[in-house]
Amino acid sequence: MEASALPAATGAGRRRRERLVPLLFLAPALIFLLVWLVYPTVRTVVRSFFGRSGSDFVGFDNYKALFTTDTLRTAIKNNVIWVAVVPAFVTAIGLIFAVLTERIRWSTAFKTVVFMPMAISLFAAGVIWRVMDQTDPSLGTVNATLKVVHDAFGSSGPLTTAQPSTPALTGSPSSGFVLRAVVRPGGVALMGLTAIPPDEVPAAAPDAVRPAPRAGAIGGVVWRDFKPGGGRPGVVERGEQGLGGVDVELRPAAAGGAVASTTTAANGSFSFGDVRPGSYRVAIASSTFAAPFAGVNWLGPKLITPAVMIAYVWVWAGFAMVIIAAGLSAISREVLEAARTDGATEWQVFRRVTVPLLAPVLSVVFITMIINVLKVFDIVLSVAPQSSQDDANVIALAMWRTSFGGVNDFGLGSAIAVFLFVLVLPVLALNVRRFRRET
């Protein structure tokens, strides 16, 4: 600020000041970078060759441990999966979203919604998905959605377990029950079940009714062949309740699948009308005993890594979309229009024109995502419960847990950090090369 006040400074003084001024502007940044980045990096590399205490030189032992300890190998394996799956997935989703939003009127709103998770911490995003991924379908959104789909394709049955009340009926809940005797049109099938948990029969269920035979039809009843005090097996008696909602099938006596199926009324009765002459068997379908959808265990050891990945993709898809959309808007409209007038289909335009022109942008997104995925940490910690954190482990998390999470082995922790650093080196070299080519 005094430079202007001293216009007539001597040549030597001015030159010294010219050298000093840049240094003053740079000094704060250089101090930060040297103390907090450069020195620690060197120190970590050195530290990785020493043991836990820090005074015993152990050579490459820590690096050996890195590749032989089970939890660390899981971490490396998981990170390999992360790198193989997530960057490609995020880039693809970003590309699809960017191309599709160009064709709608409310693209700004759509982009804002998809981009929004970028503002949220990965930790909070993890909490969000931990809530979403709860196993119980009445709590977890994902499983609640799956239950709706599941029930649409085959609802759970009214019963879970039962036994035949007489040897006239054979089978089991998993295969269904079949009446031994052959039934012909005009006949009646009596299918008594016992050993049914009391809470599966509504208290208000009406008594079972033995249907009267009808010409040309096969009728019958499925009922709880038991009443307080016992009752006689195989006989429909007063006080014995009908079983409603049971799936009943009519099969040819010889062999083959069901020719007709129906569901029992509340009093347990059913009827197949207009049956062609012949002999048949009547069966209770196994779907009657289908268990209700219990929910996928997303947070368990098997699915935890995919569950964390889904949360991560949810966060980063918006980033890819915004960068790619910006690249897309820079593509000349004329090139696309020219391809369309030449008779190219939309798919051909996308595949042969849009994607090749976007290649530089796509590679930037892809590489950025590789770096991000190598450093993934917070979201694993918040999605994965304590019990499955070993199964969800990744390198950055393993580094932290080894160094600060109870084990407190700075030697091994340093080795993991150096390993992570080595993994990003190719990208570092790429960035430097690209910059030097530009200048």
Binding site: A29, L428, N431
Partner: protein, 303 residues
């Protein structure tokens, strides 16, 4: 070139115009119908991206007794179920309120410091001549991707020796350092785009570098400064690993919530509202300054 481009554009547009004139509204309806499935698909996707956050908000509104029994969609079905009780509870919880205050301090203090340090260095790299400038800048670019894990252990030791451990200042300084490579990169690239004539005339008028920096560069660089400030604010507000490593009692919100997640099922009535609180503020910042955020993202990623 401009003119020929326009001509080509018109040539391409013409046949389309004719087709449109031939079937005035039938074509328009046809196009709308064709776009229908796309609109529906994108609407479904938008809902998929919105539901998780909405689910957390509504979960946090469930009464503590219902939170482990019912999904959030019950609040949609029975709005009377919603209650602010959980929020009242976390604002009465001194651990959470002090964590909120710590988060604000860290985020604001370090954002201001970073913007100042990065602008100074960015100006030097863009407009001052000194030996080794390009090499030094290559060094900054190299530091862009260094994972902060490589610094955790040595800095932990230094902080314990110097008393910076478990202080807001310690966290702030670490965040500034790791925000610098990107900050310098962003600032330098923006400042270098300022027209040379403006700079030259200021220098000929005899203005000192400091004067040029404060009177010319900073005002002109405001959009880039805004981008950097928003980035750094979000980054530090959302940090977990740094605060978890260098703090014990100095806990920002993320750490305070993290320490509760060990009993996830039993205290979700605290975790859900606290998490929503911790994400609501960055969300507001983001929605208010989305433009600058996207600009920064584009400037930073098209390396």
């Amino acid at each position: 070139m401009e003119a020929s481009g326009q001509a080509a554009g018109q040539a391409v547009a013409l046949p389309r115009e004719r087709a449109r004139a031939g079937e005035p509204w039938a074509a328009r309806v046809g196009r709308a119908v064709a776009r229908g499935p796309l609109n529906i698909l994108l609407a479904v996707l938008a809902v998929m991206w919105l539901v998780p956050t909405l689910g957390l908000l509504l979960t946090s509104l469930l009464p503590a007794t219902a939170i482990t029994q019912q999904g959030w969609w019950n609040v949609v079905a029975h709005p009377s179920l919603a209650t602010w009780e959980n929020y009242r509870a976390i604002f009465a919880n001194s651990a959470i309120t002090s964590a909120l205050w710590t988060t604000v301090q860290i985020a604001v203090f370090n954002t201001v410091l970073l913007v100042v340090v990065a602008s100074l260095a960015g100006y030097a790299f863009a407009w001052l001549d000194f030996r080794g400038r390009d090499w030094l800048f290559v060094g900054v670019i190299a530091l862009l991707v260094v994972p902060l894990q490589v610094a955790l252990i040595p800095i932990f030791t230094i902080y314990q020796d110097t008393g910076l451990f478990d202080t807001v200042l310690g966290l702030v300084l670490f965040h500034v350092a790791f925000g610098l490579p990107f900050g310098i990169f962003l600032m330098r690239n923006f400042f270098i785009g300022i027209p040379r004539d403006i700079m030259e005339s200021a220098r000929i008028d005899g203005a000192s570098e400091w004067r040029i920096f404060t009177r010319l560069i900073l005002p002109l660089g405001l959009p880039a400064i805004a981008s950097l400030a928003i980035f750094q604010f979000l980054w530090t507000w959302n940090d977990l690993i740094v605060a978890l490593t260098f703090g014990r009692n100095t806990q920002p919100l993320t750490v305070a919530i993290f320490s509760q997640t060990r009993q996830f099922g039993s205290n979700i009535e605290l975790i859900a509202p606290a998490s929503f609180l911790s994400l609501a503020i960055p969300l507001v910042v983001f929605l208010a300054f989305q433009r600058f955020f996207v600009q920064g993202l584009l400037a930073g990623s098209v390396k």
